[in-house]
């Protein structure tokens, strides 16, 4: 976790708000980013950092907003090999597991 992400989380907490910290915790096959990559999703939908962009990131961003609504932390698997992914033309063909954490 780099100091910029630490500062961003700290700033959100200081303002009395919450955000969802998303971390890639494991990957299999071909994925653009690996374990440790993070993004922070704010309640208004803004994002800093990236877990690889594209459809996969967009899908996880929705999960992060759900986590904020439910105030719940959970793991989520993004399959880039599934039918939807193939139809959407996801480029990489791997799997990543992310942890969505309300901070």
């Amino acid at each position: 976790m780099d100091d910029r992400m630490v500062q961003a989380v700290y700033d959100v907490q200081q303002s009395g708000a919450q955000a969802a910290l998303v971390s890639i915790i494991a990957t299999r096959g071909s994925t653009p980013r690996k374990a440790g990559a993070q993004m922070l999703v704010y309640r208004d939908g803004r994002v800093i950092g990236t877990i690889g962009g594209g459809c996969a990131e967009a899908e996880v961003r929705v999960q992060a907003l759900t986590a904020l609504d439910d105030n719940r932390c959970f793991t989520y698997r993004v399959l880039m090999t599934g039918e939807t992914a193939a139809n959407e033309g996801m480029a990489c063909g791997g799997m990543m597991e992310v942890f969505v954490q309300v901070v």
Binding site: D2, Q7, Y10, K34, A35, G36, V102
Partner: protein, 260 residues
């Protein structure tokens, strides 16, 4: 959740300290409410417990084994249940020092910022070294190279790029930065000019290994001509140097694989 953790992490980052960050990722149903809780380890000591003392001690034993290479999951069997924790470390944002604020430095700073670098730009000309020309830079220093280089903490930069207006200031900068631990030190110049500079510094007794590591002429050979293209070549080389990448076209890798 974990409010104190981020406050402490920020403090550690400010003091350039290190920290192991442990997050509980999964736990048996009775402990599900603890998922997301974090444990901070600094200086080999934990600052609070995660779940309870024995569980925290199990984690400390894993950390003490010191097998961390990259952020990773650790499975832990505890009291008949299966847990997973994620082990990460505090790191610093990548930072780059651009010496010279001319026509290449502008696209170079933009692109470095795009790929996540905090950029410091230095030049002694107020018309060039100003925040208006470098909105993406974290810091623009308008001072003589000598004074600026004496005051900046050079060891903190992951990449140092020398692109000043001329031979003489390039050489002055190179003398100041060649012994720095930066993963990437590059200097612009034609083959001939670079040759002269390296010979001069060799005669002056500068470290041969450090001079051998110097990326000069700078950047990947992509046939760059314009300032933006040259900057692209430099940033590509910086990105590649972090992971020792081959710098060959990805399509070539595919063909190699196909040919067995």
């Amino acid at each position: 959740m974990n409010k104190g953790i981020f406050s402490r992490l920020r403090q550690q980052a400010g003091e350039a300290g290190s920290a192991d960050i442990i997050t509980l990722i999964s736990a048996p149903a009775p402990q599900a409410g603890s998922i997301g809780q974090m444990l901070l380890i600094t200086g080999g000591c934990y600052e609070q417990v995660l779940l309870d003392e024995p569980f925290t001690r199990l984690i400390m034993a894993e950390v003490a084994r010191g097998e961390w290479k990259r952020p990773m999951l650790i499975p832990i069997d505890y009291a008949g249940g299966q847990y997973r924790v994620f082990w990460d470390k505090l790191s610093r944002q990548k930072s780059a020092l651009v010496l010279g604020a001319g026509h290449i430095s502008q696209p170079l700073t933009q692109m470095l910022a795009m790929v996540g670098y905090a950029v410091t730009v230095v030049d002694d000309r107020p018309d060039f070294a100003n925040a208006a020309r470098f909105p993406q830079a974290e810091q623009v220093v308008c001072r003589s190279f000598e004074k600026a280089l004496a005051d900046l903490s050079l060891s903190g930069y992951g990449a140092i790029i020398i692109v000043t207006r001329g031979h003489r200031s390039d050489m002055e900068c190179l003398r100041a930065v060649i012994d720095q631990p930066a993963a990437y030190v590059g200097m612009i110049g034609s083959q001939g000019r670079v040759h002269v500079v390296i010979n001069t510094l060799t005669r002056e007794g500068y470290d041969q290994d450090a001079l051998a590591r110097l990326r000069a002429p700078i950047g990947l050979d992509i046939g760059a001509e314009t300032p933006a293209e040259i900057a692209l070549g430099i940033v590509s080389e910086i990105v590649a140097s972090k992971s020792n990448a081959s710098c060959r076209p990805m399509s070539e890798k595919r063909r190699c694989k196909a040919n067995g």
